[in-house]
């Protein structure tokens, strides 16, 4: 990977690659939790693996299995999972100029766009390091996440009931961990989070499972209209 240091000063240091590989290994291990929670929600092992292979975006995957566990609401579940994946479009917009991928190279690069690969790539000082970091994070996280998903999905049946293992707490804890750094970004984020949570709770008694979460997206619209310029990094 050190051969593309064209416009950067000097050769690419090992650090972007090392950071990406380490982060991929650390975060990818949570695929164990996803695989186990997916199967205990009613997905088959191949279905759990298909999500990790193709969707490859943790929050959306957890959102779908939440809807499946709630017993139906598949359309609403898919819709909220896909809506949640819309942040990856934003990441792609930011990465496009940095990664400079053309033609069919985009097809593979697109798969690798996640919270983690974007964070590591954007943290680099130059374009060459960003490309190296993106590839390293993508490779490490993709392989680890998918192996861990398969292991978690295949192993959960032998361990005991999902409830006795606390697997029903895995998805909400994962969502909380994912939103935590965003809540620290500013008061607008906290307001939108509170409003979204309130909308979901208020709508739960009246709507099919999954729909309250989609309705909560209106909190983001309110937040955007209230302060369109604030807080974008």
């Amino acid at each position: 990977m050190a051969d593309q240091a064209g416009q950067a000063a000097g050769p690419v240091p090992a650090r972007p690659v090392r950071d990406g590989v380490v982060l991929g290994l650390a975060v990818g291990t949570s695929g164990l939790a996803f695989g186990a929670a997916a199967v205990s929600s009613g997905l088959s092992v191949p279905q759990a693996c298909a999500l990790s292979l193709i969707a490859y975006t943790g929050a959306s995957q957890f959102a779908l299995i939440g809807a499946v566990a709630a017993g139906g609401g598949m359309l609403a579940g898919s819709a909220s999972a896909i809506l949640l994946g819309s942040r990856n479009t934003l990441y792609g917009l930011r990465l496009a100029s940095l990664l400079q991928v053309r033609g069919t190279g985009r097809l593979l690069t697109a798969l690798g766009v996640t919270d983690e690969s974007t964070a590591v790539a954007l943290a680099q000082p130059g374009a060459a390091q960003a490309r190296a970091a993106f590839r390293a994070t993508f490779a490490s996280l993709y392989v680890t996440w998918n192996l861990a998903t398969a292991a978690g999905a295949a192993g959960v049946g032998r361990l005991g009931s999902p409830q006795s293992l606390g697997l029903d707490v895995v998805a909400p804890a994962a969502f909380l961990a994912l939103i935590w750094p965003r809540l620290r970004a500013g008061p607008a984020e906290r307001g939108v989070g509170l409003l979204g949570a309130a909308i979901a709770l208020a709508a739960t008694p009246f709507c099919p499972p999954g729909v309250p979460v989609i309705l909560a997206a209106s909190a983001a619209l309110a937040g955007a209209l209230a302060a369109p310029k604030g807080g974008s990094p």
Binding site: A33, A59, A70, T89, G92, L111, V169, L176, A220
Partner: protein, 105 residues
């Protein structure tokens, strides 16, 4: 089972398409500040909604399961201690599992 496969494949295809769109569409599409801000805030609203829905919703009813709440409390404690993602999840599930093993339900 077929319905689940459709949901799985639709979600997978949709998530991939959104990623590809980011690399393909013209940059000016998200140039408008309101559009841009909305796209940034959508995950915040949805993740907050998912967190409370998965913690409290039981079909149409809202229910507070003591073991689950304790698990979420453990997750908050782990996050405040700046624990990594997997540690947060293991702390939450382990707390709920431990309390249930002790008979809390």
């Amino acid at each position: 089972m077929t319905g689940t496969w459709i949901a799985v494949l639709a979600t997978a295809a949709g998530c991939y398409a959104l990623k590809l769109a980011g690399l393909t569409v013209p940059q000016r599409l998200l140039a408008h500040p309101v559009t841009r801000r909305f796209a940034e805030l959508v995950p915040v609203a949805l993740l907050a909604a998912l967190t409370v829905a998965e913690t409290f919703a039981d079909g149409h009813a809202l229910r507070a399961d003591p073991a689950r709440l304790a698990g979420m409390g453990a997750a908050v404690a782990a996050l405040l201690a700046r624990a990594p993602f997997l540690v947060v999840i293991v702390a939450a599930a382990g707390t709920a599992a431990g309390l249930r093993a002790l008979g809390v339900s």
